[in-house]
């Protein structure tokens, strides 16, 4: 799997946001798309239940606006993935379930009904994923779509924010069944590599999965957790962190503390958004298009 380098440069050149040009490129992509080419949308860190007007005065409206924007995309994606922190942490088990139900009600308005979920530490870190599993199902699983193998890895339900030996064994067994040139996409909440350990932006045993993936020639990882875009290629593996949909966080190490970036009234929803991912088969290539909450 190859990232289109031109697109990555373009992402950087636009300060992380591709607007009309991105939409236009997707339009032409759709016309040229092969039978097995497809789109999916990644949303992350919606933190439903968060309240803090200086950070996000539209905390109850942002997700709804993003849902409307996704519904307006043409063409519609084949599926949608939420890469964790669906809800904001609460110490109360009952409130946690209430927030998850409210979240589920809002995203039920999405036109696309094939939706993949995984937890973030805010959803699953306090009860080892119990409430999440009740309402959304398994925290780790695989699925296949048009020749691409997807692996959803849970690196938050363990109290130490590790993947754990049992799940690592499960990943290992799954990969044994794959050809070394098979396109593989991994979804996780926390980054698998040491993006910035001082701020807990890593997975304690993430290197074990990355070692397992080394022999494979076409691998991309999509994660959340850091509330901002971040694109890196480490070895043969591409890593793409997504923006959040409640509050942005500062660039790694840019400030002493990783406090949320306050709302800018002059630029509402700045730093928030989601992405559409186009996957082209033969040669497999992925194209990222970043959107603001309201499509801008």
């Amino acid at each position: 799997m190859k990232i289109n380098r031109r697109d990555l440069l373009k992402l950087a050149g636009f300060g992380g946001i591709v607007m009309a040009s991105g939409m236009g490129r997707m339009g032409s992509w759709a016309k040229a798309a092969g039978e097995n080419d497809f789109l999916f949308v990644q949303l992350s860190d919606t933190h439903w239940g968060f309240s803090g007007p200086p950070i996000n005065p539209d905390s109850t409206g942002t997700l709804k606006k993003a849902v409307a924007t996704v519904n307006g995309l043409q063409p519609q994606p084949d599926f949608i993935v939420f890469t964790g922190d669906l809800t904001h942490v609460t110490d109360d088990d009952k409130d946690r379930r209430t927030r998850m139900n409210q979240f589920r009600e809002i995203i039920s308005q999405l036109k696309v009904k094939d939706i993949k979920f995984m937890p973030g530490e805010h959803d699953a870190g306090l009860d080892e994923g119990e409430a999440f599993q009740e309402l959304f199902g398994k925290t780790h699983y695989t699925f296949d779509h048009k020749g691409v193998h997807f692996i959803v890895i849970d690196n938050v339900s363990d109290p130490t924010s590790a993947i754990g030996d049992k799940q690592l064994e499960w990943v290992s067994e799954d990969l044994k069944q794959r050809d070394k040139d098979a396109p593989i996409v991994v979804f996780t909440h926390r980054p698998l590599f040491d993006l910035y350990p001082d701020w807990d932006w890593f997975t304690r045993d993430g290197n074990k999965v990355l070692e397992m993936l080394k022999p494979f020639s076409q691998v991309a990882v999509f994660n959340g957790h850091i509330h901002q875009e971040n694109h890196q290629k480490i070895g043969n593996i591409f890593h793409h962190a997504a923006k959040g949909l409640m509050f942005p966080l500062p660039a790694p190490g840019s400030v002493p503390k990783k406090n949320p970036i306050p709302w800018d009234p002059a630029q509402p929803y700045k730093g928030l958004g989601f992405r559409r991912v186009g996957v082209e088969i033969k040669p497999t290539e992925i194209t990222l298009t970043e959107f603001g909450v309201q499509g801008g």
Partner: protein, 120 residues
């Protein structure tokens, strides 16, 4: 609110952890630092050490599992309740180093931080 009986039990267990650690493993030349973790703070929050002097950290948790991570000094430990949690190291550089809880523990997790000061 906890009942008085529960409070007594928690305090008793914590003391037992510290007494066991102190009697069992502390070295005469070590500086012994006892750190209590509870949602969502460490006590003490500021720790002063001397460069080159061995340190024995004795961790205790008053409620749930926490973590202690000081990336600047490359030390970390899991802190389990009702369990002896010890960490030895020798600070080899002077300076001020933040530490934080790195096992997600709830609403105030992000603010569960402290500072280690290593003097020359």
């Amino acid at each position: 609110m906890k009942s008085p009986r529960v409070k007594s039990l928690v305090i008793g267990l914590t003391m037992a952890i510290f007494i066991t650690a102190s009697l069992g493993v502390a070295d005469e030349k070590e500086q012994v630092i006892r750190i209590t973790a509870k949602r969502f703070e460490f006590s003490p929050k500021e720790i002063t050490l001397n460069k080159g002097m061995p340190v024995l950290f004795e961790f205790g948790s008053m409620d749930r599992m926490h973590g202690f991570s000081c990336p600047g000094l490359k030390i970390r430990a899991d802190i389990y309740p009702k369990k002896q949690n010890l960490l030895r190291f020798v600070p080899e550089k002077a300076g001020t180093f933040p530490f934080h809880c790195d096992n997600f523990c709830g609403t105030g997790h992000e603010g569960m931080v402290g500072t280690i000061i290593v003097k020359e």
